[in-house]
């Protein structure tokens, strides 16, 4: 049985447990995998982007939250591109062009994802209708809690 008895609803168990045994490479991490960019503004941009890019070899973690080797290389890629003057959106688009929407935790409005954005709008309207129905213009009430 491959029952990994991790707890029910807790958060991330350390990544190695979830990763298949692939062996470990012996090269040091990429230069910018664990090193900040010298410019704090660029580093902030890069960090913000990394938090919204899915790590490809881990399950459901961002590249900013993983020690996986490939996550390190992706952090390096993101930092070097930002350092080279690209905007976070350009880097995101570059990645989406290669891996599809799955790699970005930030869904964009498209033919496939529009209900994600229509949903909250519908909920706002629905909420307004319900509130309108329940509140305001109080009918003249006859005594205690109308049956």
């Amino acid at each position: 049985m491959r029952r990994v008895a991790i707890l029910a609803l807790a958060l991330a168990v350390a990544a190695p447990l979830a990763m298949p045994v692939l062996g470990q490479d012996s090269l040091p991490p990429a230069p910018y995998a664990y090193t900040e960019l010298p410019d704090p503004a660029q580093e902030a941009q890069a960090l913000h982007l990394m938090q919204t890019i899915r790590c490809l070899t881990c399950q459901s973690q961002s590249v900013a939250d993983s020690d996986a080797q490939m996550a390190g290389d992706m952090r390096h890629l993101i930092r070097t591109r930002i350092a080279a003057g690209e905007t976070p959106d350009q880097v995101r688009d570059w990645l989406v062009e290669r891996y599809g929407d799955y790699i970005s935790y930030e869904p964009t409005v498209s033919a496939i994802t529009w209900p994600l954005f229509a949903g909250p709008v519908v909920l706002v309207l629905l909420g307004a209708v319900i509130l309108y129905g329940r509140l305001g213009r109080r009918r003249r009430q006859a005594g205690e809690g109308g049956q």
Partner: protein
């Protein structure tokens, strides 16, 4: 209160649809692979230094020389890569030209790997920070891409090549113009 009743039956229907979706997904095998979105596109420009002495490195220009190739993304430290070695050999003996991108690897480890499992590659480029791997939308090792003579990616095989995959890859190479 007719509206409430209508709403509730609607909700019952919505729940059933949701449970139906759950049941459908439950019956589907979970697909953990992330497909590259670069299939059908020209391979991005790159130029990798040789990963091991005695074999040339790999550049995007090499992949647009008119002859279709298999591009194997692998590493000596990756265990499934050892499993697929005989199949790569078989493909090479069958006339396929195979080049490789070695991910985060060292020459001495590669030499050891080739000594043990054989070397079907005509060129091996060293990709030390997975830059080329990321640029072609590959998400792990091993993966094998079919690239045609113009340098356009035609097919992506994720995971190790098992004996039953060999004919498929040969057919894909044929389609690519070999």
């Amino acid at each position: 209160m007719n509206r409430l009743r209508l709403f509730l039956w609607g909700l019952v229907a919505a729940c059933l649809a949701l449970f139906g979706l759950f049941a459908y997904q439950l019956s589907q095998p979970k697909d953990e692979f992330i497909q590259s979105a670069m299939v059908g596109k020209t391979i991005p420009q790159f130029d990798l230094r040789p990963a091991i002495e005695g074999l040339p490195g790999l550049s995007s220009a090499d992949l647009a020389d008119g002859r279709p190739k298999l591009v194997n993304v692998f590493a000596s430290w990756c265990i499934p890569c050892r499993v697929e070695a005989p199949q790569l050999d078989a493909l090479q003996r069958g006339g396929a030209e195979i080049v490789a991108i070695a991910i985060r690897d060292r020459p001495e480890d590669l030499a050891q790997f080739f000594a043990t499992y054989g070397n079907p590659f005509s060129a091996v480029g060293a990709d030390d920070v997975s830059a080329v791997q990321l640029s072609i939308g590959s998400s792990g090792v091993p993966e094998t891409f079919v690239v045609d003579g113009q340098g356009v990616i035609r097919y992506q095989h994720i995971g190790e090549i098992r004996p039953e995959h060999v004919p498929l890859l040969q057919a894909k190479l044929q389609e690519a113009g070999a």
